[in-house]
């Protein structure tokens, strides 16, 4: 996981580097919480662009951090998810409370 903080926008970005399942979530969860508590960001961004797979462990990962961000008066956004990830976030109701931006499709490819 790559962690980036932009001081001007107070935006904290978690760029995931490992496919999301129960195993990887248990590894990064605590670290994410510490980063959020440390920076009190205005916005937390989960960037899925570097990974291809997420199962339902991703739902808890995102919702847990969403609660913490809200508690610290911030917001959370999910970006660059693929079709399968979007389906999981839609089914679980995550997309009703969190803004999700889908992957940029390459132009010219239909």
């Amino acid at each position: 996981m790559i962690v980036e903080f932009n001081k001007n926008s107070k935006q904290l970005t978690f760029k995931l580097t490992e496919d999301v399942d129960q195993h990887t979530v248990e590894k990064v969860r605590r670290k994410m919480d510490n980063e959020i508590k440390g920076y009190s960001p205005r916005k937390v961004v989960f960037d899925f662009s570097n990974i291809a797979f997420m199962d339902s462990a991703g739902i808890g990962m995102v919702l847990g951090r969403y609660k913490l961000a809200k508690m610290l008066n911030g917001n959370l956004e999910i970006i660059n998810v693929n079709k399968s990830m979007k389906k999981i976030f839609d089914m679980s109701g995550v997309s009703r409370i969190i803004n999700i931006v889908e992957e940029d499709k390459n132009e010219g490819v239909i």
């Binding site: 399942d21 129960q22 248990e26 797979f53 199962d55 462990a57 990962m61 999981i88 089914m91």
Partner: protein, 154 residues
């Protein structure tokens, strides 16, 4: 040898979450011979990951056990069985309900079975308390069908 199935594989591994990725990737590699689309393969990987995670964190909880996977191919359909000899599920109907989880403290969403049902064509759960759980899932690979049709047309 001509059996009931066109092809079959079996996998056994220790119930560690480290093996989740191995399990779904191995099943996906086996199913690849049916020439699935990326989306179909992704659906299968997700469903396998959900079933395997259930066996590891619910079936065996903190104990170590063996998770077994059998995958069978017949025609353009794959049948995947994920089983454990763990503690079992006392109320399968309740466990299959969306958002039901016995482990909210682990941030489990309770969407595992719902995802399996939505990503696969068929999901059956057999469980006995104290003996274990077996999840059987089937999915028809459509891309292979398309290809056959194209061949006939050509």
């Amino acid at each position: 040898m001509k059996g009931l199935y066109d092809n079959e594989m079996k996998l056994e591994f220790v119930s560690k979450t480290n093996n989740e990725a191995f399990a779904r990737i191995a099943v996906a590699a086996f199913v690849s011979q049916l020439d699935p689309t990326i989306d179909e393969l992704s659906d299968i990987k997700t469903a396998v990951s959900e079933a395997v995670t259930n066996s590891i964190i619910h079936g065996y909880e903190d104990e170590e056990g063996i998770v077994k996977i059998t995958a069978k191919l017949f025609g353009n359909t794959v049948e995947i069985e994920v089983s454990d000899n763990g503690k079992g599920i006392s109320n399968v109907e309740e466990a299959r309900k969306p958002l039901y989880t016995s482990k909210p403290n682990m941030e489990r969403s309770g969407m595992g079975f719902t995802i399996m049902e939505s990503f696969m064509d068929y999901v059956n759960v057999e469980s006995a308390v104290g003996l274990g759980t077996k999840v059987t899932m089937k999915k028809k690979i459509m891309s292979m069908e398309d290809e056959k049709e194209t061949c006939i047309e050509a």
